[in-house]
């Protein structure tokens, strides 16, 4: 059983061929709405969640705050896709099974299981509300027929098991078929219950709750390649957990200064190396990345490598520090590179070169002139995530106005696409979008001033081996697929 990371089963990614990620390559597969609270109730009545039709989820024109998707993550095979939302719910979608007469439907994802992962809580020690919002979801490598995932809110990480059941026991001794009690005197033989097939039922059960180890807000969780540990990072500390043990965790990084007034930076994201169990990186609000080796010492306060690009003094402004803060850090599948996202750019670093990134991509450079208003409406603090494709040749990240960007690392081409309801007809081809940067606006261009900053794409995911992407736009989840597929 080869892990998907070792050998992406997909053929050479079409994106890296000459057409790059240029026009017309991507089509919409489906738009999924995370079921709202109301529809969740009706789903519970409907035992067979798999049979829920997409139409039932379609077209909620309203979206409550709780429905906003806060994280998206494919599992290791890409068969399942999990989303978490601000209401503390996790929705898992399953890819439509391939069937011969419905070739074109391949790649559609349907609701597989929905459960409430976190509830709002109150911290009595600090008189603070703890939101139920799911900050991150991470799948575990599959270990038996069931699926396992970690979900976290600001304080508590939970391990969930999602399993199927298709049999149920029948036959009682003391009751008859209708559930009426029998007269004990009439019992003359013993009946052993028999298992009968029933409609498939998907259950989600909490297996472990890892709580009380974080004083600050958890921003990342990452599963180690040794399959027995994972880490959780908050603003100032990183803890290491064993999956089996919930009442102990090891603190491996602590950047909290003795005096909080000396605090100059916070941890913004952290991730384990995909193959080396002893290596992890974490990024900071100062735009730097530290790589630590857990072999060297039990406490990794001292880093092994320090990635930082010297600041260009000519570009220095009031906002320099804010926009250089790293919002996401991701190892490439190969483990050779790390990608970081700051407010305006995506950077790719070679693990062997610490003084500057090997590639820098401008995501929305046209916003540089608008930083002042973005600061005023708090958008400048948005935390955009970034993802690699299965072969590390393309990277994707989000922007405003429901735009998301792709950069082909080989051809250096890039494209802006829009995840919007207007073109949400299935199989619709996505038209590349252009934002006007110069003085004159051409016909197909959009002016910077007309961008909608309330429509932001923060969370995206790329199928581990195929060109299928999931893009979360507020309460909508769009699945796009490379047309060649």
């Amino acid at each position: 059983m080869l892990g998907p990371w070792c050998s992406p089963t997909g053929s050479p990614a079409p994106l890296s061929c000459e057409t790059g990620c240029g026009e017309g390559t991507w089509i919409l597969v489906c738009r999924l709405l995370v079921p709202t609270q109301v529809s969740l109730l009706s789903m519970e009545e409907d035992i067979d969640t798999r049979k829920i039709n997409n139409s039932f989820l379609r077209d909620h024109s309203y979206a409550t705050e709780a429905d906003i998707i806060s994280t998206v993550e494919f599992n290791h095979t890409g068969e399942l896709l999990a989303t978490g939302d601000k209401g503390g719910r996790v929705v898992i979608f399953q890819r439509e099974q391939e069937s011969k007469n419905q070739v074109h439907r391949r790649g559609e994802y349907n609701v597989y299981s929905t459960f409430q992962s976190h509830e709002p809580e109150f911290d009595y020690l600090k008189s603070l509300e703890i939101e139920e919002k799911i900050n991150k979801i991470r799948w575990l490598p599959q270990q038996n027929a069931a699926y396992f995932l970690l979900s976290t809110n600001d304080k508590t990480v939970k391990l969930w098991k999602v399993s199927e059941r298709d049999k149920r026991p029948e036959g009682y001794n003391l009751k008859d078929e209708e559930g009426r009690l029998r007269d004990p005197a009439t019992i003359t033989t013993l009946r052993v219950p028999v298992l009968r097939p029933m409609d498939l039922m998907v259950e989600a059960t909490p297996r472990r709750v890892f709580a009380n180890a974080h004083t600050y807000h958890i921003n990342s969780i990452s599963v180690n390649s040794d399959y027995e540990t994972y880490m959780s990072a908050d603003d100032l500390r990183i803890n290491l957990w064993n999956f089996e043990i919930t009442n102990q965790s090891f603190n491996i990084v602590d950047i909290k200064p003795a005096n909080m007034e000396e605090l100059t930076e916070v941890i913004t994201a952290a991730e384990f190396h995909p193959h080396h169990c002893n290596t992890f990186v974490y990024s900071s609000s100062k735009g730097t990345i530290r790589l630590c080796d857990m072999r060297a010492s039990a406490l990794c306060d001292r880093h092994t490598k320090f990635f930082e690009e010297p600041e260009d003094p000519s570009n220095r402004s009031f906002f320099s520090e804010i926009i250089s803060s790293i919002s996401d850090v991701k190892f490439s599948h190969s483990g050779r590179y790390i990608m970081t996202r700051d407010y305006l750019t995506v950077k790719v670093w070679d693990l062997n070169m610490e003084n500057r990134p090997i590639e820098t991509y401008q995501v929305h450079d046209y916003l540089r002139s608008k930083l002042c208003s973005l600061y005023e409406n708090d958008c400048i603090f948005d935390k955009f995530e970034c993802v690699w494709n299965g072969s590390d040749s393309v990277i994707m990240t989000g922007s405003y106005n429901n735009f998301f960007r792709m950069f082909d690392r080989n051809t250096k081409r890039d494209v802006t696409l829009e995840a919007s309801r207007e073109n949400s007809k299935p199989r619709a081809i996505l038209k590349p979008r252009k934002v006007c940067v110069g003085g004159k606006r051409r016909k197909d261009e959009i002016s910077v001033d007309s961008l909608d900053f309330s429509k932001k794409i923060l969370h995206t995911a790329w199928h581990p081996s195929e060109n299928i992407i999931a893009v979360a736009a507020t309460n909508n989840l769009y699945i796009f697929q490379d047309k060649v597929n």
């Binding site: 059983m1 080869l2 892990g3 070792c6 009595y124 020690l125 600090k126 008189s127 490598p141 599959q142 270990q143 038996n144 069931a146 098991k161 399993s163 059941r165 049999k167 026991p169 009682y172 001794n173 003391l174 009751k175 004990p184 005197a185 019992i187 003359t188 033989t189 013993l190 009946r191 052993v192 219950p193 028999v194 298992l195 259950e203 297996r207 709580a211 009380n212 180890a213 004083t215 390649s225 040794d226 399959y227 027995e228 089996e244 009442n247 102990q248 965790s249 090891f250 603190n251 602590d254 193959h275 080396h276 169990c277 002893n278 857990m294 072999r295 060297a296 010492s297 039990a298 406490l299």
Partner: protein, 727 residues
């Protein structure tokens, strides 16, 4: 074969006497699928009863298939099932049918929960012994192969534990196959499986022929010991022990030592830690010669390792290492090769290293003898007794008995006393608690005069500590001291001081008197209890604080059995009856409890009890505890949280237990215990603290978890964390 099915209990219904015997079984079977986990669990635990009633045939054809498919259940149910099935051979018709048990255990061996899987493997190993050699190859070996080549790593990890039980009894051809399967699991893709294989490598080596060990196991071992995953490499250290035990000195030197040397210098501290942790086992396995040549230098390196965790693990092993050295020349080796490194560790920068050393260093005294101890070790002990870290001092004190045997404790008493006094007054209540626990031991070794002179006042001071846990420990300490020094001593030194506290203005101290009496009455005997303690208790029944009054009731119930009937009838009963009319609900309740206990005792002693004196049962049942609160009584969350915590009781008593402030800086534990709240202070607003055990030993930055059960503002069973460093 059919004959083996035994008497015709087979078809279930046991004929004529049907209903009576069938009904409970029918209930048990139905409860196998009850919604309540506890009922399911009970039912599974009585699975043998069900099987017995069904008879061997129906067990095989109906019960086992049902169980095979019930692996959706809770872990504890599955764990119980896995355990039951290990002893089921007799119930399915004896060894001939043992293979029927394999399917359910096979599915249990693939669940994700490690404890369940391990238990299933354990049961499978048990059952394998009951298979005939033929059945083993026909049923058991195919099962092992299925698991070993399963899609999911859970099944492959389970397979690792089964090779060693089928190998010795298999035929040559099958043996070859088994080895092949094991080899492939050792190089499995997933670290989980490689870890399982590494941890079973030693066990498997033991059942193999010596030649195969050398030609096949050693290469596997070498591979695993250089695995890319730290977690696999560190398990190879364990395997090292078992493999070395099987080989001759030359073979160890040639086949195992290169790997072991490499492990002791591994880049990852976790692997070096493992070497340090397994050092005694390694030392025994490789024998004295290699120990001297190789292990001692390796150990020296571990003692000065750059990672504190490794140094601490090595320091823990110092005593065992020295003990296991060959007696001839032992002293020289220790003095020249170990002691210099130990001296360095005494002033290590890391307190965990120092306290690990302190926990074993006293053991060296017996090995080195009186002279060396006085000359070389004593300075170290004295230095550690003055260490800044309380844990180090505690560890030295807790091991005083080793030194006592060699040089006598008097040598140390000069430095000992200041150390004890300092610990006794330490700001951390957990440190004070730890030293109290050593008091009886110290008292025994230092003798009664020394104790009276120097330590007695400490013991009494703890009784008025502001932390409840300390006061509680201090009372039980007194009891142990009385057991050691006798009642006469108690009467002269302890009891008067305890009884004086009954007039203390602080109600918590008055309650301490009662708790002391509860603890001491038995040790002191009837005379002292009746003459000295009882009057004080009875007097306190008029206390203005309700908490004290109901504790009087509880005390009377507690000391009742020690008193004679006269005292019970004449003195205790009237007081209890008065308390039974108390205006406070809780006092009334405990008074009623005590009255019925006393009445029972009187009845046992054949004392006439009139019916009217029986407690009026209705209204005094247990359900009113903890007393339900009306919604209006709730003072509201915000208020609760902001109220001050340091204050002692408000006048008028139990209201003093009000609103433990959770906002007080760090640690509901400290705050709440300082209020003296425990389960026995049953008041309207309270928090029960029922587990304040710190989870330490995790490196210097672990967290403690406190389990607090609250009544009002905190939901039941909430876990609170306190940062250790913040304390």
């Amino acid at each position: 074969m059919a004959g083996a099915a035994g008497p015709a209990a087979g078809s279930g219904a046991a004929g004529g006497d049907g209903d009576d015997s069938l009904y409970p079984i029918a209930v048990l079977i139905d409860e196998l699928r009850n919604e309540d986990v506890q009922l399911r669990l009970n039912s599974i635990k009585k699975l043998s009863t069900i099987a017995l009633a069904l008879g061997v045939e129906r067990t095989r054809t109906e019960l086992l298939p049902f169980l095979t498919d019930t692996i959706y259940d809770e872990d504890e149910v599955l764990l119980a099932l896995a355990e039951q099935l290990g002893n089921f051979t007799g119930l399915v018709g004896g060894p001939d049918f043992a293979h029927c048990l394999l399917p359910p255990l096979e599915s249990l061996a693939t669940v994700e929960e490690t404890v369940v899987r391990d238990k299933a493997v354990e049961s499978l190993r048990q059952i394998s012994q009951e298979h005939t050699p033929v059945a083993l190859e026909a049923h058991f070996v195919p099962l092992v192969k299925r698991l070993a080549s399963g899609d999911w790593f859970t099944s492959r990890t389970s397979a690792c534990g089964l090779f060693s039980v089928c190998y010795p009894r298999a035929s040559i051809a099958v043996k070859g196959e088994i080895k092949q399967y094991f080899r492939s699991l050792c190089s499995d893709d997933t670290p989980m499986v490689r870890r399982a294989a590494a941890s079973k490598l030693g066990e498997f080596a033991k059942v193999l022929e010596l030649d195969s060990v050398k030609s096949e196991i050693v290469p596997l071992f070498t591979n695993l010991a250089s695995d890319e995953q730290d977690s696999v490499r560190l398990l190879a250290v364990e395997a090292c022990v078992s493999i070395a035990q099987l080989l001759s000195q030359e073979d160890i030197e040639a086949l195992v030592m290169p790997t072991l040397r490499q492990a002791a210098e591994d880049k990852s501290w976790r692997v070096r830690y493992m070497v340090a942790d397994k050092f005694s086992e390694l030392q025994k396995a490789v024998g004295p010669k290699i120990t001297l040549n190789d292990l001692i230098p390796a150990f020296q390196n571990l003692l000065k390792d750059c990672e504190a965790e490794v140094r601490a693990a090595a320091a823990h092993k110092v005593k065992e290492l020295c003990e296991n050295l060959p007696i001839e020349g032992r002293e020289t080796i220790i003095m020249n090769q170990i002691l210099p490194y130990i001296k360095e560790l005494v002033s290590d920068t890391n307190q965990h290293v120092k306290s690990a050393l302190a926990s074993v260093i006293m053991g060296l005294a017996t090995i080195l003898g009186k002279e060396n101890t006085i000359e070389h070790l004593l300075p170290l002990f004295l230095a550690q007794l003055k260490d800044e870290c309380p844990e180090v001092r505690l560890n030295i004190i807790s091991n005083l008995d080793c030194v006592n045997e060699v040089i006598g404790i008097r040598q140390l008493s000069q430095s000992l006393l200041p150390a004890i006094v300092e610990l006794a007054e330490d700001a951390k209540w957990r440190v004070r608690l730890a030293i109290i626990e050593y008091m009886p031991l110290l008292a025994g070794q230092l003798g009664v005069e020394f104790f009276d002179e120097k330590l007695n006042s400490l013991c009494m001071a703890w009784l008025v500590d502001h932390v409840y846990a300390i006061r509680e420990a201090a009372t039980s300490n007194l009891m142990k001291l009385v057991q050691k020094f006798g009642t006469e001593w108690a009467q002269n030194t302890i009891v008067p001081k305890v009884l004086v506290m009954a007039n203390d203005p602080n109600y918590l101290h008055r309650m301490t008197t009662l708790f002391c009496i509860n603890a001491l009455s038995e040790a002191c005997g009837q005379e002292i209890t009746t003459k000295q303690m009882l009057p004080i208790v009875l007097k306190m029944a008029g206390d203005q604080v309700a908490n004290v009054r109901f504790n009087v009731a509880k005390s009377l119930q507690k000391i009742g059995p020690i008193l004679d009937t006269d005292a019970l009838q004449v003195e205790v009963k009237p007081v209890l009856q008065k308390l039974g009319q108390d205006e406070d609900m809780d006092v009334k309740y405990f008074a009623q409890e005590a009255i019925s206990a006393v009445a029972q005792r009187l009845r046992k002693l054949d004392f006439p009890v009139k019916d009217s004196e029986e407690p009026s049962a209705p209204g005094a049942d247990k359900t009113h505890l903890p007393r339900p609160r009306g919604p209006g009584e709730d003072t509201g969350k915000g208020q609760q949280l902001s109220s001050p915590c340091s204050g002692c009781p408000r006048p008028g008593g139990r209201a003093g237990a009000t609103a433990p402030s959770v906002s007080a800086a760090f640690g509901p534990c400290i705050c709440l215990t300082e209020l003296g709240l425990r389960e026995d202070t049953t008041s309207e607003q309270q928090f029960h603290i029922f587990n304040c055990k710190p989870q330490t030993s995790l490196g210097r930055r672990s967290y403690i978890f406190l389990h607090i059960q609250g009544a009002l503002t905190v939901p039941l069973n909430t876990w609170f964390a306190c940062d250790v460093r913040a304390e």
